[in-house]
């Protein structure tokens, strides 16, 4: 069963039978809000970009985003940039795969962020969500839907961090401003 997370809520990424997850996928989906009075050819497209920042004791070590699709160690992979959103009609538009077993041992947190590359604010985005899927069987583990857009251009969606021998996911849902993840660093640090 998928858990609908609220802001700040955390879930442990353990299977019911006690086995730990091996691979998860952070899926991101969004649609441009419908606006009246525009010509069909000018439907405004929104380019949101998902990024994953890998931290070792609060120091950023590696980042996976549309210009660096695979972390150097190969454990975190971005499936590719989607420039318009809404293609999945409720499915994921961008995905980041995390091979939890192969994440380097010193990486203890992975923060997932979303930025509006084209500069529109989240007011113009509808139905944005991020969800965590068990990649081995396609089951959704947790879903976090962005409540009401606001005057900001980025969201720090969630983090996955080590807890004991396993991993825990925490929904963060903090608004921020910036075009790419670099601009978000100051906003991310308080959450580590």
């Amino acid at each position: 069963m998928s858990v609908n997370l609220t802001k700040g809520q955390a879930i442990s990424l353990e299977k019911k039978d006690g086995a730990t997850l091996t691979a998860v996928r952070m899926g991101l989906g969004w649609q441009a809000a419908k606006r009246r009075g525009l010509f069909g050819s000018r439907t405004r497209e929104i380019d949101l970009d998902a990024s994953a920042v890998l931290f070792a004791e609060k120091q950023p070590v590696d980042v996976v985003f549309f210009r660096h699709l695979v972390s150097d160690d190969g454990s975190v992979r971005h499936t590719g940039d989607n420039l318009v959103g809404g293609v999945g009609q409720g499915g994921d538009d961008e995905s980041i795969l995390v091979d939890l077993q192969r994440v380097p041992v010193h990486i203890d947190q992975i923060v997932f962020t979303v930025n509006s590359f084209t500069g529109q604010t989240f007011q113009e985005v509808q139905d944005a969500f991020c969800r965590l899927v068990d990649e081995t069987n396609g089951q959704e583990l947790a879903r976090y839907t962005l409540a009401g857009g606001g005057e900001y251009t980025a969201q720090i969606m969630a983090k996955v961090h080590r807890a004991g021998s396993g991993w825990t996911m925490t929904a963060l849902g903090t608004p921020a401003n910036g075009r790419t993840f670099q601009d978000l660093m100051p906003a991310i640090l308080p959450h580590l």
Binding site: A56, E57, Q59, V61, D62, V70, D72, D73, G74, S75, R102, V103, P104, V105, H106, T136, N137
Partner: protein, 627 residues
Amino acid sequence: MTAELVRGQNHPLSQVRLEIRISAGVPVLAGATLGDEHGTVHGAPWVVHPGAPTLPGIEVSGQAATDHRLAVDLAALPEAVHRVSVLLALPERPGGPLRFGAFAAPTTVVTGLDGTGIVRFTLTGLDAESAVVALELYRRQGAWKVRAVGQGYAGGLTALLADQGLPQPGDLAAQIQEAVTRSLARAIPAPPPQHVPDAATPAPMPSYDSPDAHDVPASGGPVDYTHSHRRTHTAPPPPPPTAGPAPDDQPAQPVAGDAVGWSMEERLYNQVWGMFEDLARTTAAYRSAVDFADSRLEKELDQVLSDPRSRLGTAGDVAREAAHARHSQLVDQARAALDRDLAQLTAESEVVEPALPLAYARWDNPVWHGYRAPAEPPLALRLGDLHLPESVSLRIPLLVRLPLERGLWIDSGPVAGPDDTIPDPAELRRLAMEAAVALAARLLAVHPAGEFAVQVIDPAGAGAQALQPLTRAGALVAPPATGAAGVTDVLGRLTRHVDLMQMAIRGGAAESLPPDIDTAQQLLIVNDFPHGFDDRAVTQLRYLADEGPAVGVHLVMVADREDAEAYGPLLDPLWRSLMRLTPVPDDHLADPWVGHAWTYEPSLVPPGSSILQQVLAEVTAARTKRR
């Protein structure tokens, strides 16, 4: 992961309730024979087929179909049954072609009840057969296993059943065929075939069927999209990319060819590159963890030093010890993760290396002993081995696509040896020439007879000793060119060759090439550059390096860059355009993902081995036969 089986390979089955999925390009009937511990099938009641589709523990479909799902419960089979042979046969049709070779290769997948794939086996290479034993499930010491069989019978179901030891196989075969015909009459007619050639319309590529016709260019058809050098003889439509990433709870057992591709050769190529990337990445993970641990240790030690409280008493020592303990704990963890991945890659390498075809195989691979000139050129070539200092014993083949996109430069200049000793310059030159000869021999051997030619420029004759394997076997087009005149002559001819080939390709007039132009691919080995070269020859060499690869003229330079110093920066573009290799292990190659420095080692013939002579003799013999 679904394990990809090759003929004869077996795989343990951990589940007893299975589904066997069969998909074929044409409706087939599926059945199974049950055998006892000696493999004997006790008469017709031990055969499950469309006319008698159910026996305890196994059920097949009552009709012929392109897709089958056979339900098997190994636990429910009678105790006496020790072997289940899954068979496929083409239903009899009046006037229909009764041969598997006319259709896409059938695929069988054994899955668990939840649909997760356990093994997959594609029955390639079938030709005139109309019945085939696809898989065999058998009991071995209480546990069940599956084996990929793929034994076809041109004599059809009758021959297959007779081979299983059944009395009156003809009657049973007729009974099975009749049951299929009956069910066909009941069934809704199938939609017109989309991609399966119908019996009435001849297959679009009939030339594949007759062994002597495959070299005839396809004519009559609108456009021939087939690659003129890549024709398969037996199974024209290659099976679709397989080895899907099906999840599997069991620890993945490495299998050779476990990657995507249209042929085993391509799958192995992709698998080797996959291993290369995995090793690069897992090492990057290890190095970044160790770097992090090192920098953290340094920071913590600095803190201890700058803290005035730690100057007194033992507090400082305790803090220092704690920092070191944290460091070694993280490094140990990182090492454990690396070791786990290395063990997996090593196991994979152990199954992949022996399975490699000629062009990818090391010279000590037994595949060379059974050498015969191949019928088609390979996809790629092994240039040597790569390894990283963290895992010296794990060698990844360095495979490059053929035809070579750029020339090679075997650097005979000073290279620091394994233990920082610089080998003697004369020795290095000899080793470099040996590496070039091994490479040339490999290229000659993996191309079909007469489709690859090697020429040598050895101005001072310094490489004569190393060139002996090639010269003695008569594998060269002409004796190595010596002296300034020889250099001018060979370069002049090759320049003209490239020029004419370019014109012919641009004009689409390959047939109007002068008769003395050999359309085979050419390899030019240049030793001792620039000895014996004048300015004109240097310009010609640069022309060959730039324009040659596109028309099948390749260059291997055996040279020390220092020797050509007199030319100044003039030759820099030439060196840059060549791929640099070294005659001794040297870490100068970077991978495309992380950029580690990999140690390259050429693929040399083991000392004392006569394999090179054997192979080259065979190459020359095949070439003479062809003429």
